[in-house]
Symmetry: C2
Subunit: 361 residues, 2 copies
């Protein structure tokens, strides 16, 4: 498998297509990592380091401030949607194919600016990492932070995940809980001899339906919380009153709440239903109050919104680095069979990021 | 496997144990059918007929009235509770073991009286049938009615199913329905982009919880209706708003309602939730107003109650034969791992049935 040669200084849309056409499903990023490494190596203003299938390229300008700009190079499995195609939807040109949105268009913008900006206002750590679309323990960004803690540092981070070229700050936390009800088995001809565990879930669903999602402002952004049932089960046989049933709920909570706060909030909604926490992850404050974030917002001139999906900005948040998402493509098209990114958004992000990093260029 | 010889004219409790000790799980009734056939054949006042593993023994006295007395000879699977044991619970002697309640004690009473009563007041059709504990299509009583419609006739029928030696008349009808809800899939980080099918079940469970069971008098007995959830399911993945969910309900309705009436009643409770009827069976009116039923109640001198479980009395009801349940054993102990029948109830049923069939004996 000969590596395709990537032209970093050409058109960013063409670079996006070239990246899409190197398949890189999570766990098989070798070829695309080779191509990225080879393409970056010739640029003498960058120090290039490889860690398994992650590549870090860093400027060494001695600037007082350093920013991290990161993107993952893996995709979810291909759905018969490669090689990429350039298509016209109504009046809009799009690049169609697996990874176009999530997130090779963003990676293309990063690669082009990494190569081109030899003299940015900040020192920049460009991070291209593997295995973001799989379990958190394999995440390439997490591994880089463990293996090279001195490298992934800065006062601000931008993750080029798709945001339709708007700025999305922070992310909600997430927690899954399981509420189990119990009863007493009986024949369904004489239900009054038992106690029906499924019937008891009625009150749980009622409270979920009555849940008024709070909108909580954090660092200037308004995060909308939510509580959703994602699973329900119960029943033994068609003539038996079931003695066990359960419902699994997913609570998405504002980044101003800790996991402990979120648990406490659920306990106040379900004081009479003991539950178990299946998993949880804290949110990330958007950090929009930091000077770099303000500067970024001013440069990019795009709307600023909260991010609802959980992304790796949380990793930066845990490291104390304010971080935002900013990249081309509609996040609702990520992983979709008809994944496609408007070309205009790729250019918009190239321009926006350049204005932030090198306003005088 | 040599057939055990059954002594029909001895003690009915010992006969119960002997019947229990011939295992006869549904589909494997050959040995017990052989034993019953061989035991009945010597009695010249009976005409004995065999149909697969069902035995019919009939008197031929030319009486103006004929009654059918029936019981099934199969059991649910053995649960390490055979051979039978005679045990003392507090002050009560019981026969412990699979089938003791459901319904070899009843069969023992039938066999003893079939052999002993050579001159009853009515002609009697004694029916011992197979495969009652499995799907209705295999039911031995149903097969006998199909194969020998001229044989299973009479103006009254007694099924010796366990009733704790009380008279239980008729039975509720039963209907199972499935209510499916639909919604729109979405990521659970942005539930407002979708519509949650599980949440919609909340209103269904609420109505089930608010269902006020009607008590409906039919032929002098009060039947209590019920509506129970017997199954619930929904959920795709722990981060997806599910677009499908369903709950299965079991409605037990008074025998005064037809299946169509019952369906209509459910539609009035769930006008906004289309449902499918999974299965249904009409109830059986107790027919306690018939002269034979009145005579039976007078003879037995036991309390008369509605039957809640669906039993084969419905088959008699469909044939236009009023039928009641009357037999030893607590129906709640049927199929239980600790299945056991009080010996006193076996004697009580022997005496009660004898008083009805041969009051002058």
């Amino acid at each position: 498998m000969a590596s395709m040669k990537l032209n970093l200084l050409g058109d960013v849309a063409e670079l996006t297509r070239a990246l899409c056409d190197i398949q890189s499903v999570s766990g098989a990023e070798g070829e695309i990592a080779d191509a990225i490494e080879q393409a970056l190596k010739p640029f003498s203003h960058l120090t290039v380091l490889r860690d398994e299938n992650a590549i870090v390229a860093k400027t060494n300008l001695g600037r007082s401030q350093q920013v991290v700009i990161a993107g993952h190079i893996d995709t979810v499995p291909v759905a018969d949607n490669l090689p990429s195609k350039l298509m016209s939807f109504e009046r809009e040109q799009v690049i169609w194919g697996r990874g176009a949105v999530d997130m090779k268009a963003g990676v293309a913008v990063m690669l082009k600016l990494a190569a081109e900006l030899i003299n940015p206002n900040f020192d920049v750590v460009w991070v291209f990492y593997d295995q973001e679309e799989v379990e958190a323990s394999k995440n390439g960004l997490g591994r880089l932070v463990r293996n090279h803690p001195e490298l992934i540092t800065g006062s601000f981070a931008i993750l080029c995940e798709p945001t339709s070229a708007t700025i999305e700050g922070g992310c909600n936390g997430t927690m899954r809980i399981k509420i189990s009800t119990s009863g007493v088995k009986a024949h369904s001809a004489r239900p009054w001899m038992g106690s029906n565990a499924i019937h008891k879930l009625g009150s749980v669903l009622e409270r979920v339906n009555e849940f008024h999602p709070q909108e909580i402002e954090v660092d200037g952004l308004v995060f909308k919380e939510s509580l959703s049932a994602v699973g329900i089960s119960g029943g033994i046989a068609s003539n038996v009153i079931p003695d066990e049933a359960s419902v699994t709920l997913n609570y998405r909570f504002a980044p101003s709440r800790s996991v402990a706060d979120a648990t406490e909030n659920l306990r106040s909604i379900f004081p009479d239903f003991p539950f178990t926490v299946i998993d949880s992850a804290p949110g990330a404050r958007p950090g929009m109050n930091s000077p770099e974030a303000q500067e970024f917002v001013g440069a990019v001139n795009a709307s600023v919104n909260p991010k609802y999906g959980w992304t790796d900005v949380s990793r930066f948040s845990e490291m104390g680095i304010p971080a935002v998402n900013y990249g081309p493509g509609d996040p609702n098209k990520a992983h979709a069979d008809d994944e496609n990114v408007p070309v205009s958004q790729i250019y918009a992000c190239e321009v926006g990021l350049r204005k932030f990093l090198a306003p005088n260029l």
